[in-house]
Symmetry: C2
Subunit: 209 residues, 2 copies
DNA sequence: CTTTACAGACCAACCAGTCGGTCTATAACT
DNA sequence: AGTTATAGACCGACTGGTTGGTCTGTAAAG
């Protein structure tokens, strides 16, 4: 990959992260990259392709990591820990990519969007699969509705991009540890009776055993 | 409030939700609202003001609801349940507002952004406050780092806008119940020893008592 | 008669993308 | 070795279409 192409990618990533895809013009990218319109369009077909490349770089990496973490462990409990850990760590490596990924995916051209959606669904399936497997095997609480629980897990992790900063109070590894703790606390079966005394009402899904 | 103004707001909300703020032109809004440029600019100073109004409507409502739920209950456990419930329910009432709120806030003009940020921080403080209070009083697990835990809670709820659909498998009330269950499971003190047997490593924050 | 509500033609700015052209490097030829 | 041919990398003035916003006009309301 050419030197200039990388520069354009890095520069535009920063700019998009700060001002959003539509808040940055090709001329700005070109100026900040120390090149020209010609240089830009020599390496990218369009501004939209640039957006796609950013999306693809990130989701491809996440998918690869999650797949690996999923394979090397056997029990659902070990798997979920490994996958969450690797997923959280990504926010340290790819934060600008992720901001663009979650903020600007609306603006992907249909052909590009389809490709990204496919990979994103694959990733979602890994999470869903682990939780499902855990419930089926009795490792995780069976009464939890799979879809809602899985989306809660995805949500809490995904949201990290909105607040995480590298020089913040907690390192990315520490954050991962906290998240794993939280997730295991609601996934693993425990003293439900004790908890229910504190609840305003008995949840609708508690009749499953 | 005038009839046309409401129409413009509703229409643009739908359009923004579907295509994003920059994917919709003023002409499109005007056409879909059955009015004209004159009609639009009679009610709004600019497209940016429209964006602000949408933001403000939503965050003002959330803040009011959370404040109310926070006041009528006394214990942190009851408070967090009430606040989460009211918060989750908002996603049923204001889903298009929320999509715009989380997707397009980057494009708010500085003056508008400041106002919105203020209210958003107020809301965040309510959540932080409840968890802090719960930890201080011994209702919630003291070992959990406040910031990370609170952001996890906010994240899992906020992410709902990405997947919730009114005609989905679970009602918004059911989703709220699941979320409250999950959150209480990791907030309330329980059998940590039992859980730790399943953990790949001992979390860094477990030495606090 | 004044004010408010809206219509729609019009405009200036902007922006993604184009296109003819230059510069450099390496290969091919003599 | 010296000269020429060719390809790829990059430049930047230019354009055609679009967009947010304005301005003048008009009809109804009070």
């Amino acid at each position: 990959m050419s030197r200039l192409r990388s520069t354009i990618l890095e520069t535009s990533l920063q700019l998009f992260d700060e001002h959003g895809f539509h808040g940055v013009t090709v001329n700005q990218i070109v100026a900040a990259s120390g090149t020209s319109k010609g240089g830009f369009y020599h390496h990218f077909q369009s501004k939209d392709e640039l957006l796609f490349v950013i999306h693809d770089t990130f989701i491809t990496y996440v998918l690869k990591e999650a797949g690996a973490a999923n394979v090397i462990h056997t029990s659902p409990t070990a798997k979920i820990q490994a996958v969450i850990h690797s997923f959280v760590k990504v926010f340290d490596l790819y934060k600008p990519h992720i901001s663009v990924f979650y903020q600007e995916s609306t603006y992907l051209k249909p052909a590009y969007e389809e490709k990204i959606k496919k990979k994103r669904d694959e990733f979602k399936d890994i999470i869903f699969g682990i939780i499902h497997e855990g419930q089926a095997g009795g490792d995780f609480r069976k009464e939890l509705p799979l879809e809602v629980t899985a989306m809660a897990v995805l949500g809490m992790v995904n949201w990290i991009y909105k607040w995480y900063q590298q020089d913040g109070r907690y390192s990315i590894d520490e954050i991962a540890e906290v998240y794993i703790d939280l997730i295991l606390h609601f996934l693993l079966p425990g003293s439900s009776e004790q908890l229910m005394r504190h609840m305003n009402k008995v949840p609708f899904f508690y009749d499953v055993k």
